[in-house]
Symmetry: C2
Subunit: 143 residues, 2 copies
């Protein structure tokens, strides 16, 4: 099995709120948008983040609660410096996100980060991590 | 805000089981492995999937239940043909995954797929989707 995640799909109680937040608020461009059902965004080369209406998500899965909620998950977006952490947090809250933890120094490695929930409660960590980098070919370096 | 997810982090009740499944069972190579705490895998150019010990995940998040469980999420891995769906499902179950839905035709678009849970209950969709492709530059095409 290749070491690749092609889709990350999240059960989404309010798909319209997700669209307003990511498309209208943050300026993301959908790869495919099926109203009332699912919105796909490309979030890395070859990788897609999908917001799938929660009832249809449960139906597709064929198991679990009728309206599952996302838990046990964070998504992280890294930025080049501390000022950019503030800027992205402001953009996310202006777009309808909820600030959970204001920008602060993390416990490890010089990380400076904040936590913001999207309108469906999906938790984003917005961070500046001086120990993280991505090579031109996409290879990630940590620590 | 750039349209990029750099880290997808999952609360993981049994980190050793996750390591056995992904590293020993499926042959994945960790980007960084901190025993008892977190294992990082690169899963796309510039993108990382992290399994974070559940108690530390909750502590890091500063909120929520002490041992959160992953819900409302699926990860998908696409393969080039229907035979490969069977092959990956067999590899995953041999590695300790639990078959949830045996390979079958999906409801839409000629998809042929199966669902397998990893040892911590994270649901993977293994699929052959003739309407999905990735260009050489990483651009995803759907439908």
């Amino acid at each position: 099995m290749d070491q690749q995640v092609h889709f990350t799909t999240l059960a989404t109680a309010d798909l319209d709120a997700a669209r307003r937040f990511y498309v209208e608020g943050l300026g993301w461009r959908p790869l495919l948008d099926v109203p009332g059902e699912i919105v796909f965004f490309q979030t890395a080369p070859g990788a897609v983040l999908a917001f799938f209406e929660a009832g249809k998500f449960a139906q597709d899965l064929g198991r679990g609660p009728a309206r599952p909620e996302v838990s046990g998950l964070t998504l992280a977006h890294n930025v080049p410096d501390r000022d950019a952490v503030h800027a992205v947090v402001e953009a996310m809250t202006a777009a309808g996100g909820t600030l959970l933890t204001a920008p602060e120094d993390g416990a490890f490695g010089g990380v400076f980060h904040a936590l913001v929930a999207d309108p469906n409660g999906v938790v984003w960590e917005i961070g500046h991590n001086p120990g993280w980098s991505v090579d031109a070919d996409g290879t990630v370096r940590i620590g």
